[in-house]
């Protein structure tokens, strides 16, 4: 079923969520674009051995 939450984009005011580099947040702010910065951090990274073991189990 199509998503009913689809947002308008072209020809509407931008409201941006920036996930990652702060430099892009600053660049949007300078242009007076409404932007929110996500405090993103990587999730736990599995080492290769664990990944191999897990893939065999699953």
């Amino acid at each position: 079923m199509p998503n009913t939450k689809k947002k308008l984009l072209l020809n509407s005011d931008l409201r941006v969520i920036n996930i990652g580099m702060n430099i892009f947040y600053d660049a949007l702010k300078v242009q007076n674009v409404k932007v929110i910065q996500v405090d993103w951090k990587p999730g736990p990274v599995l080492d290769k051995l664990s990944e191999e073991i897990l893939s065999k189990i699953m």
Partner: protein, 575 residues
């Protein structure tokens, strides 16, 4: 941490922090900050990727600690004038890192950005229903999960992250289309929506042109050159370099195209793409010819001149396969020729005052510059080295150099596989290097932000006796380095000095991609370059033609070069 090691009146130390991740931009900014401490001669904080380790070794740090680091480890490499200074700096860095570390207390804002309103994703998505686009620049392996979550919320996305597999890209885009969400990227650094730049973009005038680009710096070049001509861009949608490939099938290029078709305030749609799959190219042309309501200028860079043996005449003739009723479509050979074609459309509509004079170099002027440079070269100086931060410029130059029969030609991002450079880190004969390719960017900031790789490379190229010309691009705008020209100008001066000490003249050609309203200062950047003896051309295509003219074995036919690569466009009715 090892004991500080003295070497030639300096001390250095290399510290490896295992499984310790920080964003490459945060690390770059911290490195720059530490370099400004009194007595610190070099500071490099990087993730332990292959490229980063090679650079640290080139910067003179010992290999033993560096070699053991994994890509998930952070390396801190510091060189100082005295031991006490070095020993006191390391704990300061540790303190800063602890302050911004995972689960740590935020004691210091590393990059001094104004991001006081940082929030976690879940709380934003549940509380703010007005968000219509997400800009994503997290490491590639984390993109898919994030993207699906945002699609479920109906949020359009610009994904700057590289290192997302094509399988993941296809899954994301198919799911997005089902949910009527636009996905720009992965690898999309640049967009303009409603005149506002997202990611790397320039301060351009807003007007009646829209651009769909699968070539980020292509979008920047076209939008800034149009701005110099007095023509505005309302939307510029960067869909990512993989989108027009066979596997992805141009899914988002078509979607972006359809969205722009519905915009009443758009007169001309300009399509800029790195070499697309033949089927994707044909679909776009057919769609525009059949259903299009606008004027179209399409540039498939390298799509016309992708073989080593392609000569100018072949470039000319291979662009004429258009449907009969497609006189609203113009196919351009280069970014520059697409701008001239767009300007012509706009002039015909008589909607605004525009002139292409600011971006044009008369044939006789370019010829004069080239002949003067040729006379100053020694016999053994035969080759050009183009060191680009913008991938599209690397492609565009290859189209031009191939078309003008500059041989042999190699690249780390070749249009033709036979021209693949064996090692990206080592030029051979005529070489065009895209420093933004993934082999240079894994674990470090893009060269448009971090000039380190290009600085080292300029020094290296200048040391070879057979190099005649170095070609450079400088990309201004939001998101780029705060001073792209200033950050490498010492290396350019040193390169010219090194050559002159060896009784050689080294030509350095450049073009600056930017507008007069960009924060770095367009005119200021031009002045710095010219003062250092750099020949500055208004577009990359002019710079590439000039470089070809300087190294060509026989004097170049400039009229032919201009007719194909500057004015080279073909209308649909030619068929």
């Amino acid at each position: 941490m090892g004991k500080p090691i003295p070497s030639a009146d300096t001390y250095h130390n290399v510290l490896v922090k295992h499984n310790y991740y920080r964003d490459s931009l945060e690390l770059l900014r911290l490195s720059d900050e530490i370099k400004r401490y009194p007595g610190i001669m070099e500071a490099s904080l990087v993730m332990g990727t292959k490229t980063n380790k090679e650079i640290l070794i080139k910067l003179g740090f010992p290999t033993d600690h560096i070699a053991k680091a994994e890509s998930s480890d952070m390396i801190i490499a510091i060189r100082a004038k005295d031991e006490a200074l070095l020993l006191s700096t390391i704990p300061k860095i540790e303190a800063i890192l602890r302050g911004t570390g995972t689960g740590g207390e935020q004691t210091q804002d590393l990059d001094h950005s104004s991001t006081n309103d940082r929030h976690d994703l879940e709380s934003i998505l549940s509380s703010d229903k007005e968000i219509n686009i997400a800009l994503i620049s997290v490491p590639g392996e984390h993109v898919k999960g994030l993207s699906f979550k945002l699609i479920d919320e109906g949020i359009h996305q610009q994904i700057f992250s590289d290192h997302v597999t094509m399988d993941d890209e296809l899954e994301i885009k198919r799911y997005a289309l089902k949910n009527r969400v636009l996905i720009l990227g992965p690898g999309a650094g640049t967009s303009i929506i409603n005149g506002k730049g997202i990611g790397f973009s320039n301060a351009v005038t807003t007007g009646s042109v829209a651009i769909v680009a699968a070539a980020g710096t292509g979008l920047q070049e076209v939008s800034t050159l149009l701005d110099h001509c007095g023509i505005g861009v309302r939307h510029g949608l960067g869909v990512g370099g993989n989108d027009p490939k066979e596997k992805i099938g141009g899914l988002m290029m078509s979607e972006a195209f359809k969205m722009l078709e519905e915009c009443e305030d758009i007169d001309v749609i300009n399509i800029v793409s790195k070499p697309p799959a033949a089927s994707v190219k044909q679909n776009i042309i057919d769609h525009a010819a059949k259903y299009g309501k606008k004027k179209y200028v399409m540039t498939f860079i390298g799509g016309n001149a992708s073989t080593e043996n392609t000569k100018v005449k072949k470039v000319r003739s291979s662009t004429r396969r258009l449907p009969r009723h497609s006189n609203k479509i113009i196919i351009a050979n280069t970014l520059t020729s697409s701008v001239f074609a767009t300007a012509k459309h706009i002039a015909n509509l008589n909607k605004s005052e525009s002139s292409t004079d600011p971006i044009y170099v008369k044939i006789e002027d370019l010829q004069r510059i080239v002949m003067a440079e040729r006379k100053r070269l020694r016999n053994e100086q035969k080759y050009l080295r183009a060191l680009y931060t913008g991938g599209t410029f690397a492609y565009e130059s290859q189209v031009i150099l191939n078309g003008l029969a500059i041989r042999p030609l190699y690249s780390n991002a070749p249009l033709n596989k036979a021209q693949l450079l064996r090692e990206a880190t080592r030029s051979f004969k005529n070489s065009v290097i895209d420093l933004g390719e993934e082999e240079f960017t894994k674990g470090r900031a893009h060269p448009m932000i971090d000039p380190t790789i290009r600085k080292l490379r300029i020094n290296e190229e200048a040391s070879y006796d057979d190099v005649a010309v170095i070609v450079l691009d400088f990309v201004l705008g939001y998101g780029s380095n705060p001073d792209p020209v200033g950050s490498v100008i010492d290396e350019i001066r040193n390169a010219k000095l090194l050559a002159s000490e060896a009784k050689r003249h080294l030509s350095v050609l450049a073009h600056v991609c930017g507008t007069r309203r960009d924060p770095q200062g367009y005119d200021r950047s031009l002045t710095i370059l010219k003062d250092a003896g750099v020949l500055v051309l208004p577009t990359n295509a002019f710079a590439a033609i000039a470089a070809a003219g300087i190294v060509a074995k026989r004097p170049l036919d400039f009229r032919e070069a201009y007719s194909v690569f500057i004015e080279g466009t073909h209308q649909g009715e030619l068929t």
